[in-house]
């Protein structure tokens, strides 16, 4: 079919097009409700074809005012809120919070409490890494891997439930101690877990570590160099995968970490695959710590003594000693409680995601004057545009998954 030139406009020479190169880009909104963001993140991607030219991350879709609540709840009450902070490893947050409070108060924990806290923090690290790596697998198409990972998380949930009655949001620690002591049943369950978990871990590694699809999708994607990792404030597995050998468990040994043998897992590649490998290896190291700790839990009380006036005394002490009665009475009265210095401290632990610290300002009250949380996720999410630039759209989920951004910790 022939088209005859009919109108004079069509015979005119074409007008000079003045499109700039960015007019050919298109913008894609990703989130805040998208399965691969896991929770509530939002990315505005600028694409050239399938290639990501730029990304504009946005957060705050889960900002609930945690730090403001911290100024209104007492040190013991606020632990429930920290559960909901990094909700894939609440125990680690509990430990971090009360570690900070005890640093402010200058409390010395009992040996038994230190060891139990170490064990639960490591169990939390395992469950966190399981979910993180499982989700990376899920996002890159390995659903079975996710089911393997989640099944082991259920085992850890079960241990926590036997330990403190809550399977998920534990609120297990207290100022100067724990809400309850570990029972022999828990010890037995942890022993079983330590025995059975390596097999699953091997299975998981067999499924994914040398899986061609997974390796192709993660290797060389989202590379973070060492200098950038430090300058941009990355911590935890993200920094260690880039070769920053910084692990607070070694560098500032808190709790009982100085007593155990374990290695800091590092990689130098700095890509998504390295982050996956570091997490897998860290689970093995955590297991090593738990193995050493669970067989040598010191006897004795889990809470600090009555003389410290911070942890509630046992019922035995309340009913049979005058100090116990007085201490219980004072701690339970709303206008008494314990002494908090007019001071400010920062204390951090190596949470599964990186350095999780709290900057606390005390003003003599039982609640903090200011409870600032230093969340690793914020700094990791800020890395994202830097990591994704130049990669394709399908790499977005791989990079996002490997950074393990938890929205509630991100936004607080």
């Amino acid at each position: 079919m022939q088209v005859a030139p009919t109108s004079p406009q069509m015979l005119d020479p074409p007008r000079q097009a003045t499109a700039r190169s960015e007019d050919y880009l298109w913008t894609l909104n990703f989130g805040p409700q998208h399965p691969a963001t896991h929770t509530t993140l939002r990315l505005v991607l600028k694409l050239e074809g399938e290639r990501v030219v730029d990304a504009l991350p946005e957060m705050g879709y889960l900002h609930s005012g945690f730090e403001k609540i911290g100024e209104h709840l007492t040190f013991n009450q606020y632990v429930t809120v920290t559960d909901r902070m990094n909700y894939i490893s609440p125990m680690a947050n509990n430990v971090a919070w009360h570690h900070a409070v005890e640093t402010l108060l200058g409390l010395e924990l009992t040996p038994r409490c230190r060891v139990i806290r170490t064990i639960i923090a490591e169990l939390a690290r395992i469950s966190d890494h399981l979910l993180c790596n499982g989700a990376v697998g899920l996002d890159t198409g390995a659903f079975t891997f996710f089911l393997y990972a989640f099944y082991q998380r259920e085992v850890i949930y079960d241990i926590f439930e036997t330990l403190c009655g809550a399977r998920f949001t534990n609120s297990y620690t207290r100022v100067g101690g724990l809400s309850q002591d570990m029972t022999p049943l828990v010890v037995e369950k942890i022993r079983t877990f330590v025995r059975t978990f390596p097999k699953t871990l091997d299975d998981m590694e067999r499924l994914l570590t040398r899986n061609r699809i997974f390796v192709d999708r993660t290797r060389g994607v989202g590379v973070l160099t060492r200098a950038e990792a430090v300058n941009r404030g990355a911590t935890g597995p993200v920094a260690r995968a880039s070769g920053v050998a910084r692990d607070l468990r070694k560098d500032e040994p808190y709790l009982a970490y100085a007593d155990y043998e374990f290695q800091v897992c590092c990689a130098t590649a700095g890509d998504c695959y390295a982050r996956y490998l570091v997490r897998m290896q860290e689970m093995r190291e955590s297991l090593r710590i738990i193995t050493q700790a669970i067989e040598n839990v010191p006897a004795g009380p889990v809470n600090v003594g009555i003389d410290q006036r911070t942890a509630l005394p046992t019922k035995q002490q309340v009913y049979s000693t005058i100090e116990g009665t007085i201490s219980h009475f004072e701690l339970s009265m709303s206008n008494r409680g314990f002494e908090v210095p007019h001071e400010e401290t920062y204390a951090a632990v190596e949470a599964p995601n990186g350095e999780l610290g709290f900057y606390l300002a005390g003003d003599g009250n039982e609640s903090a004057y200011r409870a600032r949380c230093r969340p690793p996720s914020v700094l990791h999410f800020a890395l994202f545009p830097h990591l994704i630039r130049g990669h394709t759209l399908s790499d977005v989920v791989a990079v996002l998954g490997s950074l393990n951004i938890i929205a509630a910790e991100l936004d607080r």
């Binding site: 730090e67 001071e343 400010e344 401290t345 914020v378 936004d411």
Partner: protein
């Protein structure tokens, strides 16, 4: 108690050489330095060049109803906001806290994004929640609150339950949806 981080006496001596006598204090093994408001960027730049390569956190405390000068340091006397810069060194594991005190109206400090890229979002968060401006920040927008939000919620004069912003939305009934 955790092992306190390594001492920073050498750094304090170097700081004293450069900036004259600065107010410092130590509590639970943590060293704090008060930077003069006008020279805060210079001081942080000096520290960044001396091995403090990791900016752990930037945050702020509103001392509106605090009963005494914070941490017993006279640098904060009569100032409403105290900024907290937590620095660390990945090589020596030293830690140092730098405090900068500013006051209403229009509290402003120079941005440290040129020194540490990590400060970018942390400073945006402080601007969002405390309303402290960071001069020279490349992209000082709100970080967590919606753009149309008017207040700075972590200030002490802002109520915990807010001022009704959380209920200010249209209602979708079963009939309409």
């Amino acid at each position: 108690m955790p092992f306190p981080p390594p001492a920073v006496d050498d750094m304090l001596a170097a700081l004293a050489d450069r900036f004259g006598s600065l107010e410092t204090s130590v509590f639970r093994g943590q060293t704090r330095v008060v930077a003069p408001e006008t020279r805060s960027f210079e001081l942080l730049e000096f520290l960044a060049g001396r091995g403090f390569d990791l900016l752990v956190d930037v945050s702020c405390v509103d001392y509106l109803d605090y009963r005494e000068p914070p941490m017993g340091m006279r640098g904060g006397k009569g100032r409403r906001y105290g900024l907290v810069y937590l620095l660390a060194s990945t090589a020596t594991n030293q830690r140092l806290t730098v405090r900068v005190f500013v006051d209403d109206p229009a509290p402003t400090v120079p941005s440290v994004v040129p020194l540490w890229e990590a400060a970018n979002w942390l400073e945006r968060e402080v601007w969002d929640l405390f309303g402290i401006r960071f001069a020279g920040h490349p992209d000082l927008r709100r970080l967590v609150m919606p753009d149309e939000f008017a207040a700075h919620p972590l200030r002490k004069d802002y109520p915990l339950q807010g001022r009704g912003e959380r209920h200010n939305f249209p209602v979708i009934t079963r009939h309409e949806s």
